[in-house]
Amino acid sequence: MKARWTVLIILLFAVVLSQFSFSQRPDPIEMVRAKYLADLAAFRDQGRYFKKVLEDGASSSDLKRAFEDLRRNFKRVEFLLDYLQNQDVKDHINGAPLPKTERNAPRLVIIEPKGLQRMEELVYADSLDAAQLQKLSTEFNYQLEQINRFAQKMPFDDRQVFEAMRLGLVRIMSMGLSGFDTPASERAIYESAVAWEAIGDCAALYGLLLEDKALKLKIEAEFQAGLDALRAKPDFTQFDRASFIRNYLHPLYADLLELHQKLHYETLDEVYQGVLAFDYNSPEVFSEQFFNLEYFTGLNQEAPEFEAQKELGKRLFFDPILSRDLNRSCATCHKPELAFSDGLPKSEALNGGFLQRNSPGLFNALYAERFFYDLRADRMESQMEHVIFSPEEFGSSYKLIFNRLDSSKAYKSLFKAAFPKLGGGADRYKLSRAIMAYMSDLKAFDTKIDRYLRGERTALSPEEHQGFNLFMGKAACATCHFLPSFSGLVPPFFEENESEVLGVFTAPQSGVLDPDLGRFAGGVVQDEAPFFRHSFKTPSLRNVAFTAPYFHNGAFPDLRSVLEFYNHGGAQGFGLAISHQTLPPDSLGLDEGELQALESFLEALSDTSALMHH
């Protein structure tokens, strides 16, 4: 098999070389492109075939087989298709099986779920809703037709192929192995193998161009070994994801970057003037460099004044000067020793009583598209502003704060040092920028889990190892707490935050739905859709061990109570009728040992090294 492959590649070489006798080396891009178009056409043809099988009234097993083939066709072309036509894939091909709102529309328009994931739910349902499936299948085939049509005229270049391959690896890790896009079939590992092989084939074409054979052989060996691992144990609950990521996926993410650079193709930063959420030039996924803080915050960490901004921010964070009566600071509800949460179910309000929600921890908090449990703030300034103005929190105003800051000699010079190019006194921008600069230090990217997945000499305990695999598999945590952020930041582009409807109770076993409407009531007009009722932001789980009690209402005292709630299948699992719950209502079937393993894993997801600077 391997030998024949080599023969074929030599043949290809001959063909291509004859075309480019003036050139030193063959160009893989057109091979990749031709393969892409051929795979896309095959995908479309399988879509038509599936519809025919459905219309012929085939047996359930035949229908499932045709659907599995359709998914396989998709997985073969996914790494390029999802890169080149990302929005089409999200909208029409492989979006989450949940309703959404229409983008950029002058009124709220709800779009019902469609695409492969919704179709899968129907194909695997106990009784077949053939009419509905036919409708979805017709729409799917039309969109696939359009995608094929447009793909014919869309060239792409080597740089883009490399981006697609590396994003493809991230997608396999975060969306594939976790079963995110196979809601009913449990075929996640089989499908990951298909996607993996497609990327490997593509990388091999580029490997041929290398004079340095060591890297070529390393890449080929890692893809082959990874493929063997995926094929050897494709059972969804049994697959050892921790070892797979550490041994094959993570090293390849670095190797493909090295290959890209060695072949002298331009990189993203040379063609795009903006900033993306991730840094393509990071060789590692589980590291601080992977996420682009600048994208999320605009902070320029290289600026000479950045240290001064951090210092000012730190002072402001701990100084009650921001509150009207000088009696509380940010740190009142964000205590460093509790990973910047406050240990209370809900934080204390200024005039007695409690605030509406629990105080979240702040590690990695800046790496988000929207803020607050209900995602109502699209920027940090608005988040801080809420606290400053709220009569229950700081009860203050900008006027008061700016007057105080401007009349303090010490602050005047701190502001000057932090913003040497901006004139004037304290203002909203400087205030929020400085606090964000301070918060940029509250990073947690170096947990034991990160070190292990990066391939460093760190051993996980058997429980932690099992816990990670449960998190990614049977316990279905990683379908919302996506790797590598362990938050609702959606891979592989990391440009949106997801929220989920769990049906959190007023107390762990109360069976009473917490009345908080969450995102639906956040005042964002585009969020006023029924499926955002009781929907809350998916927080990062890094340092989660320190931020009890849990959930937006702080009603769950410890990790175990949270895990048990999930193990039951959320509110619906407890038998409560709540519409649009995004958590499957089935029990996860985790036993005592497995719950213990998950807890050990979550505790290992800790990195408080940033506190050393305090």
């Binding site: 891009i29 492109r33 002298h264 903006g274 605009g298």
Partner: protein, 610 residues
Amino acid sequence: MKKALLFVASMATALAVQAQSFSPEIDVTNWEPTTIQVPKSPLITQYLFIGGHDVVQTTPTYGNPADTALAKQWHDFIGFTPDNNGSDLGWISVNHEMVVAHDKIGDGGGMTVFKVRRDPATDSLVIVSQTLADGRSGEFFAVDFANTVGETGMNCGGISASDGRIWTAEEWWRGSNSDIADRDTGDFTIGVGTSSYAAPNGFPGYDGQTIKKYENYNYMVEIDPREAKAIRKQYNWGRQPFEGGCVMPDNKTVYLGADATPGFFTKFVADNAGDFTTGTTYVYKHDAMGTKWVEIDNSDFNKMINFNSEAVMAGATMFNRIEWVVEINGKVYFTETGRDNPASRWAPAAALGCVYAPHHMQRAADQSAEFNKTITPDSAEYWDYYGRVMMYDPATEQTSVYLEGGPYFSVDPGVSQYPDKHLSNPDGLSKININGKDYMLINEDLNGTSKGRTPAGISNRTCELFMLDMSITNPGLNDLVRIAVVPVGAEITGAIGTPDGKTILFNSQHPSTSNPFPYNNSMTVAITGWDQVTIGLPEDAFEGESFQIYPNPATRTLYFNTLSDVAIYDVNGKRINVFRQVENIDISLLKPGVYFIQNAEGITQRLLVK
């Protein structure tokens, strides 16, 4: 697998084109290349009004005294009112496209106005301090809607009439009190207000009518930019999800667009020039016998409140989301921004007798031919990804496509080349007359990133501002000139030219927080000096066949005489940018200094950027 690879081999033979590989470094020490100079841009860029940062003066509202507040964000439309009787240039009115409760400015959306004059030495704009009749003093003023006409919501587009009258459009369609951010949701009586606050500015003929609070939304609302307060909601133009409009030179006729699918095209003709409180309201029906305008009786208030159903009953012509409307030389142009698959949105109205605009029927016929099946605009398959600029000719009463968005079957522009060959979902539309020449200003507002609307791998929406020389007959996408001097990542809205042709004003709306201050806020930007520069590429820029570069310093664009791959190297010979298959590139981000530019054939020139 084998089969596929063999197929690959045969395809590769047919298609292969080798891309230029640019070395990561070049030696820049031992030769004297040709030098291209890019002078400093003669344009002056100013950030006039920054949302969430600049302070606006407010009126006594909801029991709070007159005060100051930080301006609202989400800038959209800009209106310009010339100061014909004074020595200043004029007033600028800026929409805030949002709904948010605000104790001082008032709930809902809003507007901010300020006055500018020209600095005689530099032509740059200077904000003028004013004291208004209501006693407010300062530079920026929140327009008082709450105490005049009731609140507004989602102030998006509007009308900037040539005599300086300004209307703001309320776009986000309200179906019930539950979708408005108002805290007072009591019934609203025109000319009176609600039971808890007064909004005395009514409307002749409709005063005393009581409506639900949400029914007091979705009008064109006239404001007085000089006094920073609303004049009236234009109830006689109907309750519609308005976006744009224009007043014709007769000062009687108004054309209006509604942002919906179906979106109807409306006309109002005043009885007396300049008085828009009495007149006749029409909706456009292109297949009507005789005149194409069907009257909707505005003496019946219910017909105005339920304008949409009246238009449907009249069998009006349906468009796919009309945005802004502008008059240029007696013709009416409007943007139809499009909706990817509109079928279900307008099929019900079609069933009730509404008709599709002729160009949609033509598109459906073209798509039928392509798909080899019958496709009508209400078919699930019917697509409208890119939108277009339409023209309405008052003489013939016919609409036609003026500039089609796209191109369809696009060649993906590639990151570097974007957006020169694409016009996607045009939205804002306005004009500027520079040295006697008319230009159209077109703003994009993308409905999505698929089908080539943004380059692959960049999922961020990037919206652009284009200029189009109106003297070009049958313009195409290549005639668009992109205005490159804009903050990175900003979405452009509201572009409008000052009457003296020197300044283009536009808003950078809700940019991402990752921009440095002030670009991280919505803001109003002025770019001045258009009367002093060359726009686009002059016809005689190139001579002969050899590789040539023409720099346009104003828009920071380098034009090439052939389509090529190019790479830019820094002064030390390190590669910093690569552009694939481009005829021009934007160099607005290159700091002043020495660079080298190499084309696909390896020809290298020195680039001196000032």
